[in-house]
Amino acid sequence: MLEASSIHIGYQKPLLSETISGSWNKGEVIVLLGDNGVGKSTFLKTLAKLQKPISGSVELTTDKIGWVDASISKGVYLSVFDFISFGISSTKEDIDYWFNRFEINIETSRFVDELSDGQFRKLCIIRQLLKRPEVLFLDEPTVYLDVKSKKQLALIIQELKESCLIFCTTHDLLFAEEIKTSTIEF
């Protein structure tokens, strides 16, 4: 489903000296471990085709991609409903289901910049899940989440991996241990 053949990642200069190759499929949860700035996020972007590799190629058989990181913008007048509906056709049942799973109880007419960081992070994850992704990239998903929510997220990831290939970077080793099927160390 996702295949990388000897890719060099980076912007103008390669971030890593060696190339990366690999082939991944549904059911896998790959955890990426390493220090800040070694190229975990760049690697994810390259796999998601948000960025071109310097050399090598990426084969991705689906365009149902979920992506969670800190880059999504809150917008000044963006309501919760806007945030989870722009560009996605999500049903009321789906929304209610995920709101329940993440135990957030907010009116959908509220503006997102009124939410706490933790609530907003959960909302970001919900938005990506509403896309019903076949590949899900999670870049530091546990930031701002409390212990309970982390447990919940781990559980959800376990359920999701049946139908989805998941990549995740994290510095939370306990969380990594809970979800991983394999790891890549940088």
């Binding site: 999504i72 007048y77 722009f86 560009g87």
Partner: protein, 327 residues
């Protein structure tokens, strides 16, 4: 809820339109005006009809263009002036009036031609200078500097011009709905319809755009730079034309979208487009009613009325908004 807003606004717009025809500093017989077209009542009614139509089109256009530019720049206080295109129109008009000989030898081209030319020239410069990547922060800065530059050039021109030119230019700058005629009305209608259709077509794209480039790349296949450039050009032409017909009136473009987004609690362009057009039209129509002296009896410049109407509204909503947001 959004539908009920739509109905309220349509009714309000219709009422104001009728009031604009009935009320004025002069009392006329409406029925006679409609039946005897060449009578005094007919002539006055005709001038009111043109003014009302121009107000509606200008208001709707300013609101929509403002909404589009705010979305594009992701800045709620951006507006039609942000691109600097209106300064281009001002510069064009300045050249027409202030350079000795230009208005003499090129009068047949008309004032609007120069205004539109100025606006398009600035738009072209903006697009060229901002380069391949179309960094919008850069566009913003370039737009700002173009405005400054045109202001400075106009200062120089004002120094060199004669008193007739200066008078004509200053009067143009105050903005007036008197100058609109059937032809400018048709031009405005065409460009407004074009603008509305483009915005409607790009509404979903712009919605996702407001969430950031990553989401845009994941969900759409269209080229981001191409779309941004296309929208910039459409908005530029639109604002240039409005400025050339009624002078620099742009305040509506900032107030209306901000107020609406706060009232309907959404940034969804699909819902906002008709509402913005309606509220913009209502605001300018009301301002023109007051400016013509139909309400209150004082005759005032439209720009002044718009600012007096708009500033308290925008401050109220912004304060409410800022105290509501967490950070």
């Amino acid at each position: 809820m959004k539908n009920s807003w739509l109905i309220i606004l349509v009714v309000l717009l219709f009422t104001l339109f009728v009031l604009e025809l009935i009320l004025g500093t002069v009392t006329i017989d409406i029925i006679k005006g409609f039946t005897e077209f060449n009578s005094v009542d007919g002539n006055i009614l005709e001038s009111r009809l043109i003014r009302a139509s121009v107000s509606v089109l200008v208001g709707a256009s300013c609101g929509l263009a403002g909404l589009g530019i705010q979305t594009l720049f992701k800045n709620p206080l951006a507006g039609p002036t942000t691109l600097g295109v209106n300064s281009g129109a001002s510069l064009g008009v300045g050249m027409f009036y202030l350079i000795p000989g230009v208005s003499m030898h090129m009068e047949w081209l008309g004032l609007s031609f120069f205004a539109v030319l100025g606006a398009l020239a600035f738009l072209f410069l903006l697009i060229v200078v901002s380069g391949k990547s179309l960094n919008l922060t850069f566009v913003l800065i370039v737009g700002l500097f173009l405005s400054y530059a045109s202001y400075e050039i106009l200062e120089v021109l004002l120094q060199l011009s004669d008193s007739v030119g200066i008078k004509s230019y200053v009067f143009w700058g105050m903005g007036s709905f008197n100058r609109a005629n059937v032809y400018s009305l048709i031009a405005l209608l065409l460009v407004s319809v074009m603008g509305f259709v483009v915005m409607k077509k790009y509404a979903t794209w712009l919605n996702i755009y407001s969430l950031g480039d990553t989401e845009l790349k994941l969900l759409t296949r269209k080229s981001i730079t191409f779309n941004k450039r296309l929208l910039l050009i459409v908005f530029g032409i639109w604002i240039g034309l409005i400025t050339s017909i009624v002078g620099p009136i742009a305040f509506v473009g900032v107030v209306v979208p901000n107020v609406l987004k706060m009232v309907i609690k959404s940034s969804n362009l699909n819902a906002l487009l008709p509402l913005t057009a309606l509220l913009g039209a209502i605001m300018v129509l009301l301002a023109d009613l007051i400016a013509r002296g139909a309400i209150g009896g004082f005759v005032l410049p439209v720009n002044a009325v718009l600012s007096v109407l708009g500033v308290p509204i925008i401050i109220y909503f912004l304060v409410k908004r800022i105290s509501g947001a967490r950070g």
